[in-house]
């Protein structure tokens, strides 16, 4: 090949790089490994990563059963190793799958249009707030304090350089948004009210009441959904103008936090302000149905600095996992699955309530609840960890005002035995006097 090119050596091809910058040594990276060694290396890392533990963690990342066909199907090379479907003629598989995904997200959220995916729930929420700014021509956002704290952090990062002021609205003793505070926070400059339902504490919000307040002041309502399985049994936020979702619960592995699948869904009238890719139905020269990426004039490769967002690569393959999961469970299965989650959580909260205080019990909840104890939850968790259990997420870091509180999560994967064991160990300490000095290890952040 060198001869065909007319080069004497490979080095000739790198001549355009000024000599003083060329690297004349080996990179200091691990030596080349055989496949068997690579598998061994990662198997060791996997062993060091809590494989034998039963966890009660949720907080935006949920352990649900993943039907095996999800991985069988996404592993097909034609899905796995294809690029973004810009060449429609040889991308109809991906395009039709996106179209079906968009349809199912609409059915589940009660919205009219949904995009092909965003990076995750946090960036979807931030982009939804920016979108609300474009739709309303207003510049500030009122956020529920019960929105996932990390989602709030991401929004703060995005909003800061857009000069977009953010105001927080707190929660009442039911865990729901404090409507009075919310009403006071909304101004004529409020582009949107951004809440999460079920919220970070698992509490289902009174979306109607919040929508009324937002709309009365000409602001949009953006609802973030972090636990997608709730949509099987909890009424979707039909009064919302934008839904910003995290669909990880639908067949996506926990994967230490990613890749996940954000989605934005909205009403038809706002579609031209929506970020992200969209698949649309059309026909070919012979009148045959087919699908294309459409409304690209919103996007960066056409509009450059005037685009609705800079997003290009999204989470396509993860959206396909979500798509297959939604297809497997479907109309009846999703409801039954959600009901099991509801039952496990109700049982669990009831058991915990015998020995500790369950906060926010005045409103419906989905699969999370906050347990307040007299003992520091880090100490409790440290003890649980010795029995291969990972307790609820201590909330001190995010909500110091809640004291010794932790966010516990149950799904259909949580067994009664695990619940009873955890409750038993928590009860032990709650019935005893505080133990004085105890080596507290920060076991959850």
């Amino acid at each position: 090949m060198l001869k065909a090119i007319g080069a004497r050596s490979i080095d000739d091809l790198f001549a355009p790089i000024p000599a003083e910058y060329r690297l004349n040594r080996d990179l200091t990276v691990p030596r080349q490994m055989a496949e068997s060694e690579i598998v061994d290396w990662f198997r060791q890392r996997s062993q060091e990563n809590g494989i034998e533990y039963t966890s009660f963690l949720g907080a935006g990342a949920y352990l649900h059963y993943r039907p095996v066909i999800v991985d069988s199907l996404i592993s097909r090379g034609e899905f796995l190793t294809a690029y973004t479907p810009y060449q429609a003629e040889i991308s109809q598989g991906t395009l039709q799958a996106i179209f079906e995904f968009q349809t199912m997200i609409c059915e589940l959220t009660g919205m009219e249009v949904a995009n092909a995916s965003m990076y995750d729930g946090s960036t979807a929420a931030a982009e939804a707030a920016m979108m609300a700014g474009r739709v309303t021509g207003r510049n500030s956002v009122v956020i529920a304090k019960s929105l996932h704290p990390e989602y709030r952090e991401v929004l703060a990062t995005y909003a800061h350089h857009q000069g977009m002021p953010l105001t927080l609205a707190g929660f009442t003793e039911t865990g729901r948004v404090n409507l009075k505070e919310l009403e006071q926070a909304v101004t004529p400059d409020t582009a949107c009210v951004l809440i999460q339902s079920p919220n970070f504490f698992g509490t289902v919000e009174d979306v109607n009441a919040i929508a009324d307040i937002a709309h009365k002041h000409g602001a949009l309502l953006v609802v973030s959904i972090a636990e997608a399985v709730s949509l099987g049994i909890v009424e979707p936020p039909r009064q919302a103008d934008i839904v910003a979702m995290e669909a990880q619960s639908f067949g996506v592995p926990l994967g230490f936090g990613g890749p996940y699948c954000g989605v934005i869904a909205t009403q038809e009238k706002f579609v031209r302000q929506m970020p992200g890719r969209l698949a649309g139905q059309t026909t070919d020269r012979k009148g045959k149905r087919g699908f294309v990426l459409t409304l690209a004039t919103r996007e960066q490769h056409i509009r450059r600095e005037k685009a609705t967002s800079n997003i290009c690569t999204n989470q396509a393959l993860v959206a396909l996992m979500v798509n297959i999961f939604m297809t497997v469970y479907g109309k009846v299965g999703l409801k039954e699955l959600a009901k099991q989650n509801l039952a496990k959580t109700a049982y669990s909260a009831e058991q915990f309530s015998k020995h500790a205080r369950i906060l926010f019990s005045g409103a419906p909840r989905f699969n999370e609840f906050v347990v307040q104890t007299s003992e520091d939850p880090y100490v409790i968790n440290s003890r649980l960890l010795g029995h291969k259990l990972v307790g609820g997420l201590p909330l001190k870091k995010f909500y110091p005002e809640l004291g010794n509180a932790a966010l516990w999560c149950c799904t259909e994967m949580t067994t009664r035995t695990a619940i009873d064991t955890a409750v038993g160990m928590l009860a032990e300490s709650e019935s005893e006097e505080p133990r004085g000095e105890h080596a507290v290890e920060e076991v959850a952040r």
Partner: protein
Amino acid sequence: MKHPTPKATRHVNQNESLIFEKSSSGKAAWKLPPLDVPEVDAAKLLGRAERKDLGHMPEVSEIEIIRHFTRLSTWNYAIDLGMYPLGSCTMKYNPRVNEVVARLEGLANGHPYQPEKISQGALRILKTLSDCLLEITGMEAITLQPAAGAHGELTGLLLVRAHHQAKGNPRKKVLIPDSAHGTNPATAAMVGYAVENLKSNARGMVEVSALEAQMNDDVAALMLTNPNTLGVFEQEIHKIAQILHAKGGLLYMDGANMNALVGKVRPGDFGVDVMHLNLHKTFSTPHGGGGPGSGPVAVKRALEPFLPKPVVITKSDGTLGFEYNRPQSVGRVRSFYGNFGMFVRALAYILANGPDGLRQTTEDAVLNANYIRKGLEGIYDLPYATPSMHEVVFSDKLQARKGVKTMDIAKRLIDYGFHPYTTAFPLIVPGALMIEPTESEDKAEMDLFIAAMKSIAQEVEEDPQTVLDAPHTTRVSRLDETAAARKPVLRWKP
């Protein structure tokens, strides 16, 4: 076909409706275990918030689902089927061992909030990958949090802004060459910077005198892709960096084309202050039909305090942990720690290559692009004679005389069994054909590609209509994009 191709043949493939059109009441592909806790009354627990109906969600059986998605899959082209020469996209082979290790139980089921004590495996992966990427780029600190290239750009420019802000003035604008990806200007706008275009010179590179004239105290950074989108290495990179640095500006490098550099030259050594990488391009994680990607951002020491939080640290007892106390951080750009599954895959790729493999990969990628350039030179117009690195950009100038444009040639290439190259980009080349073979192709596959491109050029001369009407062999052909955008149908309705 006038010129039969050895690469492809016609073959029966299955029709398939939308899943909703196959649905009927009573079919199911799921089964839940018996409940081990008391049943609950949802109406009682949820009250008004109880959902009664799931609308038109499908009801289908498992074999129907398998066939549905398998049939759909056969309508796609993929790297696994053949050369996928999309310029700037680096469509290289995605090793299957990556998929296996990413699915190991502890990695696939690790919860992002599980205690650090039982997360040492994941933390070790973050740390090892970070160290490798720093060595490969010659940079000094890194964040893995951004979820894709454009997200990395956003993070990088937030760092630029924070850096200037800490000095008292965030500055007003970002310079972007006219050959840049669309994400660059879109990102600058998101961070609140005005975009100022920088014209390329006759060799397809940044015109240093223009940069000198446009550079002033208002310029926060230059966003440069190197090699640029023509596949050309910016030979005066040291001068470019000097001009920026002299006026306090920063050099941002878009790492989209890093596949031309790994193991041969390091951006940190030629003056780059901040850059992003695309793990889904250079480091072999699959594109998956459009994502997920991963866009780590590497910086020089001066920008380290501003990195998104948390960062991975080694604690006094030798274990790894996350550090959240970062007062100067730009904040979070994503929940948790980024697209962790992609880190696993990228690290597996680095381990499979080692120092020698990484260098050879780059050499092979550049060799392949030059082989294709030589093979098609004269048949297609080469607007810039400057040496090519990992990709080559032709134009449709010769074929346009017959009314055939780059998109037509691209569509005809489909009939020959290839995925098209990137069309109509970069914008500075009218009618561009941007070809990036990557290191994954052997000579035989590239010879087939060259033969196909030559055959199409001949068709343009003899029978342009065949090319204008292409593709002829696909399920659908030349879908009506205008109608799709004018009256959008974005979901199925009964």
